[in-house]
Amino acid sequence: MKEENIVSLRNISVDFDGDPILTGLDLDIRDKEFVTLLGPSGCGKTTTLRTIGGFITPKSGDVFFDGVRINDLPPHKRHVNTVFQRYALFPHLNVFENVEFGLKLQKLPEHERRQRVQEMLELVNLSGFEHRNIDQLSGGQQQRVAIARALVNRPRVLLLDEPLGALDLKLRKEMQIELKRMQQSLEITFVYVTHDQEEALTMSDTVVVMNDGDILQVGTPQDIYNEPKNAFVADFIGESNIVDGVMYEDFLVEFAGRKFECVDKGFGSLERVDVVIRPEDLKIVDAKTAPLTGVVESVIFKGVHYEMIVDAHGYKWMVHSTACEEPGTFVGMEVRPFDIHIMHKMEVEG
């Protein structure tokens, strides 16, 4: 397994002016994988990316690239390239010259440079824009130039720092698909930083959820969504109902004043736990036979479904349903055992 990791971070700590940003972070990134660092702003995801790029020297810990320690290797000697958040295109150069920049530094012959730049511009659908100035391009086009400028150097790893943040929703969706396509056809590793959970789930092979300089969970998008390790991940990835519960015994949990059958085991007897239920897993049923009952407090139409808040004896449940119930209606709710996710209480409440 060791050889497959292209980038490994071991016990990385980073401070900014004495404030700890990362404290003992460990992370392995497998070759040819699309990895997303996901977390709220200030969680250390960009710092992690910049550590890999060489723009930050960690206070302690080691950075390995292809098995070699590269702590002291300056950015220009690393086989990684970065797509910066605000593109960082060189305004005094045109599109062609921007993309050619890295190749010129490698002192490649002119015909090879031209060929590779053309190939890249084709890949990002910007053929014919060679002689445009940067200020003549739209945000989406600038984004593509930034990607081409990084990829033309054939890096082993491409680092992307919230590259789609400045684009509108439609363009962002298009670029997500295109980025994924590029990553697959070029067969290189992408490390992608974002705070947008949907973006992370759409594109990634592996999602790394971060908060407060720590990695909370590493897994496939399916793992992260369906089996969040703790309440923070559950809340951050999609919407969730999170309530306090007590584990009675294996496969039996109490919350909202009732015992429920579940599929989790291995918790201590009477251990206090977080119970997480996705809004789409709560089903509105006849109030007479339902395990949970409450009064509909509000209804919002969301297009695909209605989002209802149901007040059940002080617990407010968020329910997604395709059928609409009028506010004030007394309704019942049920949930299937495998849709009840039991999690250890987090040591520090975020």
């Binding site: 790029g53 950015p75 220009h76 970065t82 910066f84 960082a88 060189f90 005094h92 530094l105 490698q106």
Partner: protein, 270 residues
């Protein structure tokens, strides 16, 4: 109301330019006295170009302006880069120190520089008042102007440009010359031009630090007027005015052209 505002502008222009027009007209006057027009001549211009003192000090002025503004531009640009990367309080402190020579009356700067050079001389270091002291003085008062022109460009620059250059394979020196310098070049150029003009222009500070061997044009003109105002000075002033006018026109036409170009680009995009 339109005629009122137009004539107001006319009056302002007259006050501003009447003296210069009189000067230029009288530079072509045959009579040596300033009061009366006696006929057209180019004699004063001819004499001017045979006046060794004036030509020599013109030469001095140009050489000092070029040398001091080039050195000031280098020093000022490097200083600005250093200052931008300082911590906030350090930056504020250094910027206030930088403003000081600009705010100070020139006479204070002039006298203090003179005293400094005298003191250095008394320490046994061979400084002769002349070319070297003039260049040093001009660098001193020009550096702040360069810093003030380059600083905003540096602060406007996206810091990730420098990182992007390194990311694409530049070592720090290459990143500086290939990316940072082109970005801040407009600031460097305007800093240089300001230094150059201030250096050409300077009288007060130069007066205190010049020596008998090396005088600048303003000092020479001043000493000529103390004896007797020769129409040669009118001729010289007229030439200086025309040169400045031509340079200004060229800059303005260039700017207008650039603006039109960028407006057309913007329209093409939309």
């Amino acid at each position: 109301m339109k005629w009122l505002s137009k004539s107001y502008v006319g009056v302002v222009m007259t006050f501003l330019y009447a003296p210069i027009i009189v000067l230029i007209v009288f530079s072509f006057n045959q009579s040596k006295s300033r009061g009366a027009w006696t006929g057209f001549t180019l004699d004063w211009y001819r004499q001017l170009f045979h006046n060794e003192t004036i030509l020599q000090s013109l030469m001095n002025t140009l050489v000092i302006a070029v040398v001091s503004s080039v050195i000031a531009t280098l020093l000022g640009t490097l200083a600005a880069i250093g200052i931008v990367n300082m911590k906030r309080w350090q930056r504020n402190l250094v910027m206030n120190i930088t403003y000081m020579p600009i705010i100070n009356p020139e006479i204070v700067v002039g006298v203090s520089l003179m005293l400094l050079f005298v003191w250095i001389k008394s320490m046994g270091v061979a400084v002769e008042f002349g070319f070297v002291t003039l260049v040093l003085a001009h660098i001193t008062f020009n550096v702040p102007y360069v810093i003030l022109n380059v600083m905003p460009k540096l602060r406007q620059m996206d810091t990730s440009l420098y990182e992007a250059a390194q990311d694409l394979g530049c070592n720090p020196r290459q990143a500086f010359f290939k990316v940072v310098v082109p970005e801040i070049l407009p600031g460097i150029i305007s800093g240089f031009l300001m230094s150059f003009t201030y250096s050409l222009d300077d009288f007060i500070i130069s007066y205190f630090v010049s020596g008998p061997t090396s005088q600048t044009l303003p000092i020479t003109i001043y000493s000529m007027t103390r004896r007797k105002v020769s129409p040669e000075i009118n001729a010289l002033s007229a030439i200086i005015f025309v040169v400045v006018l031509v340079v200004l026109l060229a800059v303005n036409i260039h700017d207008a052209h650039k603006e039109r170009e960028s407006r057309m680009k913007a329209r093409a995009r939309a």
